[in-house]
Amino acid sequence: MDQNNSLPPYAQGLASPQGAMTPGIPIFSPMMPYGTGLTPQPIQNTNSLSILEEQQRQQQQQQQQQQQQSVATAAASVQQSTSQQSTQGASGQTPQLFHSQTLTTAPLPGTTPLYPSPMTPMTPITPATPASESSGIVPQLQNIVSTVNLGCKLDLKTIALRARNAEYNPKRFAAVIMRIREPRTTALIFSSGKMVCTGAKSEEQSRLAARKYARVVQKLGFPAKFLDFKIQNMVGSCDVKFPIRLEGLVLTHQQFSSYEPELFPGLIYRMIKPRIVLLIFVSGKVVLTGAKVRAEIYEAFENIYPILKGFRKTT
């Protein structure tokens, strides 16, 4: 996969957020490590993978390529890229990610060569979203809800009697509530054999916790299996660190937002694509929920961030 592994060219096409292009500052250095910028790289798996994971993959590949190439062609690269190294300026941190060798590769069709130097003209590229610089903020996952089918009927009274970490109050709720310490989660176990596991902070933790609950039920004497594990809901949160004029946001995005200060202090934004509900507060904190996969949360936040930035300075 011979990709143009340097900074996504769209970022150069922008009026750079760094202000005037000052010499000595590598224009691409802050962008890649933060990772959530949208890459206009040809299509491939941007739908299935999260942007973050894809960029991590790219970085790993770059590093591998660098290691392979640097040994063989160190001398050649020095000769070839002296002209471009001179424009590179002080780029102390870049060699880890981008090797000068890669700069000499032929640009892919539709992408510009890297530097806005007089030698290489910049072809304008429409960025994937308008005014899209990466937000640099990654939402943290706070809660994962998953379900699994244990595949056998259960006697809840027996479970409540013989397990230490179980509570069962049939008058209040028709399920056993069981908790384990690591990963710190809670499970609702129903007599039909279906189980709901909540409280995990990542998909793998949720799966591990569900397996532990199944093991507990197994040890209690039931022929429990582990069928149809599915993540039903993921909740993430993050902070954009500036106040937001919710009244303005509800005026411009009326069809998606619902803001009733008499009922709830936050604005409820129902995004259509991806189908995520966001709770936006005046302090700039955003809660994203309703996702089935992690990528939906990241995508939703990348979609909302430019909208929120539009409401940053309204005084």
Partner: protein, 416 residues
């Protein structure tokens, strides 16, 4: 019952007394011809005064509409009349209710929800005409819980796909202020507390606008802010006589309920006014505090735009410029400082950030940075870990014994 008369159409003598709704009729059972009819009206009053009975009070309308829906439609009309809404609102609210009733989610709902739905329809109608009706008022009138109301309201807006505009703050201020009983001298209100309605209204509007600009209204219930603003406006119009009156006393005199958050909104508004006052040279020397600043609210409001701009730096602008100038951090801040330098030299107080109060207060608990876990989900689960969650047989026996004992103890108090 055969009364000896014959049907004029077919001549049969099988005449039956069969009432059509409330009208008694003599009908031929062979051909269905109506021989004689009784009177339609049911009361002597109506008959005597020769008044016709309106369609909505007759039985004709009730054929297709179920009883609960009829009752609720009547309730919608009654609510509109109690609130003294213009007559067009009634029809709109009724139409919303009828539309809502078609939805399966609403039609099968409990009666409690349908009662609350009446209030929701009226509220939506008022909002669309910018009539300032708060949810609290509706809930009080319906004797309903705000939680139930909010759930039904959100569901209704979503299902009908309605575009409900926000509560009009200006109209709310006008109607709420007018409800304060301070515009005429009456027995509990001393003369020095009576105030002119227009002056108070205009000043309250300015204070609410100021609160809106300085992030005190976003995300909060609007009413307590307006209460605090009204109180400050009233105090500032005659501070010498009114400074001794507290917010609670004021609301009691004015015969208005004091909402709980109003006290903290008052403090926030006073803090903003103090910040603004620190930018006026002749006020800075007076060293104002939260009580004495009330005397100068008139001046502060007159120059509010300029004072807000001077008193508060835009906290977000600072952050953005810092982001941009990573390589040359000093320069941009210096430029910013230069514009403030002039003010800084003359005015000792540095501009405070213009942020909502929730962002100004330090967070109570430190948010722990999430540790990166390397869980794969497919690890082995050790038996010992699972064993810790299971009771030993001895524990099980003890637990069963304890359960039996508690059962016995519970059944003892009931004498045979």
């Amino acid at each position: 019952m055969p009364s000896g008369s014959r049907c004029p159409d077919c001549g049969s003598s099988e005449l039956v007394e069969d009432s059509h709704y409330s009208q008694s009729q003599l009908v031929c059972s062979d051909c269905g011809c109506v021989v004689t009819e009784g009177v339609l009206t049911t009361t002597f009053n109506d008959e005597g005064n020769l008044r016709e009975v309106t369609y909505s009070r007759s039985t004709g309308e009730n054929e297709q509409v179920s009883r609960s829906q009829q009752r609720d439609l009547r309730r919608v009309r009654d609510l509109c009349r109690i609130l003294k809404l213009p007559p067009t609102f009634e029809d709109t609210a009724i139409s919303y209710y009828q539309r809502a009733y078609q939805l399966p989610g609403i039609r099968d709902a409990r009666l409690q929800k349908k009662e609350v739905l009446v209030g929701c329809c009226v509220l939506i109608t008022c909002r669309q005409h910018n009539w300032p009706l708060t949810m609290g008022t509706i809930c009080t009138l319906l004797y309903a819980d705000l939680d139930v109301f909010s759930g039904t309201y959100m569901q209704l807006v979503k299902l009908l796909g309605l575009d409900v505009p926000a509560l009009c703050l200006e109209e709310l201020v006008k109607s709420y202020c007018s409800s304060f009983r301070l515009f005429q001298a009456s027995s509990p209100i001393p003369a020095k507390y009576v105030e002119d309605k227009d002056k108070m209204l205009s000043r309250t509007l300015l204070l609410v606008e100021l609160a809106n600009e300085t992030w005190l209204v976003t995300g909060r219930h609007p009413l307590p802010v307006i209460t605090a603003a009204t109180f400050l406006a009233w105090q500032s119009l005659r501070p010498s006589a009114r400074l001794t009156c507290s917010l609670a006393q004021f609301c009691k005199l004015a015969n208005v309920d004091l909402p709980y958050p109003a006290a903290s909104r008052l403090q926030e508004l006073l803090a903003v006014l103090l910040q603004m006052a620190s930018q006026l040279a002749w006020l800075r020397v007076l060293k104002l505090d939260k009580r004495t600043v009330v005397k100068h609210i008139g001046d502060l409001l007159q120059h509010r735009h300029m004072l807000v701009r001077m008193a508060f730096r835009d906290g977000t602008a600072e952050a953005e410029t810092q982001e941009q100038e990573q390589g040359e951090q000093g320069q941009q801040e210096e430029a910013e400082d230069r514009t403030f330098n002039l003010s800084k030299r003359k005015r000792p107080s540095s501009p405070a950030p213009l942020l909502p109060p929730c962002m100004l207060k330090p967070s109570k608990r430190t948010h722990p940075t999430p540790s990166i876990s390397t869980v794969t989900g497919d690890e082995d689960i050790s038996d010992s870990e699972i064993e810790q969650y299971l009771r030993t047989p001895q524990e099980v026996r003890d637990f069963q014994r304890a359960q039996a004992a508690s059962q016995a103890a519970m059944s003892v108090p009931n004498p045979p």
